[in-house]
Amino acid sequence: MPKTRVSGKASTGTNKTSKNGKGSRTPAAVTEDGKELFDPEKAQEEYNKRKKSQLESIKNTSADVLREMLYQMVLGRHFEQKCAEVYRIGKIGGFCHLYIGQEAISIGTQLQLEPRDFVITSYRDHVQAMVQGIAPEAVLAELYGRAGGNVGGKGGSMHMFSKEKNFYGGHGIVGGQIGVGTGMAFAQKYKESGGVTLCFFGEAAVNQGIFHESLNMAGLWNLPCIYICENNRYGMGTSQERAMSISSIAKKAESYGIAGEFVDGMDVMEVREATARAIERARSESRPTLLEIRAYRYMGHSMSDPGKYRSTDEIKRYQERDPIVLFKDSLKEAGVLDGKDFEKIDAEALAKVQEAVDFAENSPLPDESELLTDVYK
């Protein structure tokens, strides 16, 4: 969705258009709290209204980038489906939270980062880790608890990390990473690196005190932190309506004098542009942004969630707006890629996932001597 509400000192910043966005879109017809955008049909209406400018943006983006975006989305989807499959046969233990349905968020935000930028997220971290450049082989081997895993089998599904790729981790305590991400942005500003931090968290994490404490400090100290709320509508079995006193998360930015924006998380181009605006604001003005990106969690909260709190009908309605399908349709319409390309991308992604499985299966167990390493530096 185009931004409906921007506030505070940063309001000038949001009027700037991104590299691709022409800023020519008609404002969305949404109420102040954006409640109706939870409704997939309403969201699709808004999407259709933006369609022309979306195609315009696609034309302004290089074909290589677009192909990579689609490939990463498809890879993320296949990878997570494989995780579900091997989890069920006991290859993976512990918690395993899948990203299916939310791919446009990771791909739309992270693929435009520079090497000086940082990323931090929650336990739902496989796709973010891969998009950041961690090999699918290392992610899957981590899920298998093997020595070849991304952190040598010590972390599992929830705790991917790569210092080399500026991936500051998957974190298991709801909301904890919001404060840590704020500190990463603090360091970027302190060192004048020009880098920005993308700090991901779920909508339910917004109810933790740390969210509010962090946004206040970021607003107060002008930190280059981009807070990305992945609103997939549920925190475990609790819908946002049952846990939050208002429905707009983007609007909470106002309380801290920072920019806030609703984004349609099923529209990867929209995500990309909103992020570009936020990155620009962070780099050139050192101002934080809160993006509320609305998507939907197709699978259970984790692999052990029976999911009785929502109907299959509800899930189907959201799946009508699948981010991969929508993106493919637009790419086709814009004449960038066609059915043959899609098949090729699909095959490449499947082959990559198979390589990851082969690697994980053949990776040895961590050596017992690893138990006591890295407790202290």
């Binding site: 233990g93 512990g94 918690f95 981590e142 608890g145 093997r146 895993g149 089998g153 010590k154 972390g155 599992g156 599904s157 929830m158 705790h159 974190h171 298991g172 305590i173 709801v174 909301g175 339910a204 994490a205 109810n207 933790q208 005190g209 925190g235 475990m236 079995g237 609790t238 049952r242 846990a243 939050m244 009785k308 709190y309 167990l365 961590p366 017992e368 690893e370 138990l371 006591l372 407790v375």
Partner: protein, 327 residues
């Protein structure tokens, strides 16, 4: 007697106390409509409704505080932490507020609240989700700390905790929710806080175990009996604070040897405290230095082989018993 899982025994205790006292209410993440993340509160929301069984946002510090305030103002909250790892976010309310209130107010405001949920490791849930926090909470005067290991204890102790006029930290174990045991059917069955239970009588060596290590200690005891003819006594303090040191000391005076098995880390642990108190009260009766079996001094790894290596298990307890028996 009825055979119940620990999960269902806890559920019965909650149900009976909700019926008995209208000031009792349950609050926590997913406790109502979802029936509890580990199904301990199954069916309670359906039967008692929104007023008594309340789903919260993910806001541990906030709802723990609501519990403390409500308790000061006359209610008896049972606050569930989905796991005790998340209680760390609420520890300000538990330690700085609940634990201190009676003392700070010169006896005017007591805080009759129960903080409950699973403590310790589960199955490969890694560093941030596997912590055993009993020593942390037991360190603060004003808090009671309870750790049941059987279905009957779970039920009787939880009922006592809810009826207690002090803040009680009630630590369950996810790995144990499915364990079955005989539970008295009397609605008014309670077990007083602060009373240990001898789970197995023996004459040659005492194992003090709690929560998850109790069933492990029982197996180790069986093994020592059948393989080595060593008669092991297993003592479960059940309440960590107040600690029934008398029962432990009496056992050590009889067996002259002590192994302490615990899921927490060893450093500054409850086991260290017990060891000290035994030294003070039964030094002359000990025939061997006290041994402890604890979780390795490391955050919990995810990989299955490393997790197994980190945790106490039957072979490690057997090894410790053999060591104190000089076998």
């Amino acid at each position: 007697m009825a055979e119940l899982t620990i999960r269902d025994a806890l559920n019965e205790a909650l149900r009976e106390e909700l019926v008995r006292d209208e000031n009792v209410f349950i609050m926590g993440e997913e406790v109502a409509e979802y029936d509890g993340a580990y199904k301990v509160t199954r069916g309670l929301w359906k039967d008692f409704g929104d007023k008594r069984v309340i789903d919260t946002p993910i806001t541990e510090l906030g709802f723990a505080a609501v519990g403390v305030g409500a308790a000061m103002a006359g209610l008896r909250p049972v606050i569930e932490f989905m796991t005790f790892n998340f209680s760390i976010l609420a520890s300000d309310q538990i330690i700085n507020h609940a634990a201190k209130m009676l003392y700070m107010s010169n006896g005017q405001f007591n805080v009759p609240i129960v903080f409950r949920g699973p403590n310790g490791s589960a199955y490969q849930v890694s560093s941030q989700h596997s912590q055993a926090l009993e020593a942390f909470y037991a360190n603060f005067p004003g808090l009671k700390v309870v750790m049941p290991s059987t279905a009957a204890d779970a039920k009787g102790l939880l009922k006592s905790a809810i009826r207690d006029d002090n803040p009680v930290v009630f630590l369950e174990q996810e790995r144990m929710y499915g364990l079955k045991g005989e539970v008295p059917e009397d609605d008014d069955f309670t077990i007083p806080l602060g009373v240990a239970d001898v789970k197995r009588e023996g004459t040659d060596c005492t194992i003090v175990a709690r929560s998850m290590t109790v069933p492990l200690a029982m197996q180790a005891a069986e093994h020592m009996e059948s393989e080595y003819g060593v008669s092991v006594e297993v003592v479960d303090p059940r309440t960590i604070k107040p600690l029934d040191i008398d029962t432990i000391v009496a056992s050590v005076k009889k067996t002259n040897r002590l192994v302490i098995a615990e899921e927490s880390h060893a450093f500054a642990s409850v086991g260290a405290e017990i060891s000290h108190q035994v030294m003070e009260n039964a030094f002359d009766y000990l025939d061997a230095p006290i041994k402890r079996v604890s979780t390795a001094e490391t955050p919990m790894p995810y990989a299955k082989n490393l997790e197994e290596l980190a945790l106490p298990d039957v072979p490690k307890i057997i090894e410790a018993v053999k060591a104190v028996c000089y076998i």
